[in-house]
Amino acid sequence: MEKIDKKYVDFSVMAGTYKTRLTKKFSNRPQWNKPEPGDVLSNLPGTIIQIKVKVGEKVEAGQLLLIHEAMKMLNRVVAPVSGIVTDINVNVGDKIGKNHLMIKIVENEK
């Protein structure tokens, strides 16, 4: 048997609630959070090669933020929105995983 919680729990599907066991995979599923438009996440594991902006700097959408080496490519990471850089959570040389929050930009009010 799959490693599952031994006891039966209440589990809702389409407005019906059933007694059942849960799988490990289901219990560990990631919680979904609404993405922030100004959060710059790594889409691959890799290494930070260069950082082109500073905290407090004004950036335009499309402006180069940093160079992220991943899968043998020097990837140009650009600003997704125009705004102010409020956080830089990486340093040159850092090895980061996927979905690592590298830079935070607070978007200009429209």
Partner: protein, 515 residues
Amino acid sequence: MADLTKSILTLREKKAIVEKGGGEAAIEKQVAMGKLTARERIQAILDKNSFHETDMFVKHDGRDFGMDKKEFAADGVVTGTGTIGGAPVCIYAQDFTVAGGSLGLQHARKITKVMDIALKMKCPVIGINDSGGARIQEGVSALAGYGEIFYRNTIASGVIPQLSLILGPCAGGAVYSPALTDFVFVVEGISKMFITGPNVIKTVLGEDISMEDLGGARVHAEITGNAHFYALNEEECFEQVKNLLKFIPWNNQQKAPAVKAKEPKTKLNIEEIVPSDPKQPYDVRDVIRCIVDDSDFLEIQELWAANIVIGFGRMGGETVGFVANQPMVLAGVLDCDSADKAARFIRFCDSFNIPIVTLEDMPGYLPGVDQEHAGVIRHGAKVLYAYSEATVPKVTVILRKAYGGGYIAMNSRHLGADFMFAWPTAEIAVMGPDGAANIIFRKEIMEAEDQEAMRQEKVNEYIEKFANPYVAASKGFVDTVIEPKETRTQILHALKLSALKEECRPERKHGLPPF
């Protein structure tokens, strides 16, 4: 005469050298890891003394990095033919004691040669993987070797059964041959399977993970779904291989070998397994055990996506593939993984002339952002595709819940089921009573003084009217409402009637299942 004797002695010497594999020290290391040698593994799987080795004297053609001065016994892979239960099979086993079982072009060509024989002679091919990966010194030739194996795995797919045993490392490109085959066997502590190993992950990410945690037997049996059979040691694994081969045909032109029919031997009473309250769980495998010959059910992918149960049993002595929702786990919902699991199995059965019996008790698809974003639409569609496409006899028994999209997906009449049975406890409806009542009687419930009482009244009204098999039966969507204890005889009759089933499909190169 003297010359002949001498030449025979020379042959024996040459064979003895090759049979020593990588030599004593390397074999000792192999044994210390709890592993058998390549030749021992083959002997353990095949009928006694039936192994006929081919290509013992093949030499690699590496010329660079000093490879020209190195000799590898049998080039690191033992290949040949033999029998299992008297029937022919092709087999190969990578020899980790020889150059780490690394794959070069000649090593690969030995493998493709037995695959070609298997395809021509229409017999199963069994591959034992135990290799450090590509022989780097051979460069692109090693890659060519993998490609030639993958190509044959694909061409042989659905023609002959292909089994892969992961009895050591199987990393990088090497993983794709097993992935293309029909059944993958893993052994606790021995199997290690991944695309990029812990070293690369450490270099790129700085994350420390052991081979076991990354791609050990348990991981593939439980989390990734790459493995179909999980064993605690090699011996158990070989028994699983032999047991599986008793249930399946040798090729797509034959039927699985029939055995003497037996009555189920379980003491379980089929009328007492399924609780009448549709919200209470039970183990659907108990129902299967009440139906199949000798109560002998061979479950496949037992640990992964346990909310659906798949496997082989026999009815009236003939092999049947079972697909059953498992209310005990995740209420038996369909989700991405369980849809993949069921669809692939249905296609195996259809390829190899094995009738499919579906036992249905499911509330619908698993709700959730993760499921939607993981593509439950295209994964779920695979089940519809696989059932609709299948032309083998298809029998469905609705035990309890058959709601909404799940009702359609689980081999409904509308997807081409040949026989549709339902137990009197079946609830065949567009959705569960609670949800349906909330929608249909929304106004009445909102306007009632006691909303909860009104809701309950309307839920009951809905249950009375629709949560039964008779609405579907009145339209002919269900052929027969049967008592649970009739289940076995009804299925047996259906299968008997379907023995010569023929169903035509329009000509096409191939369909486009939502991969």
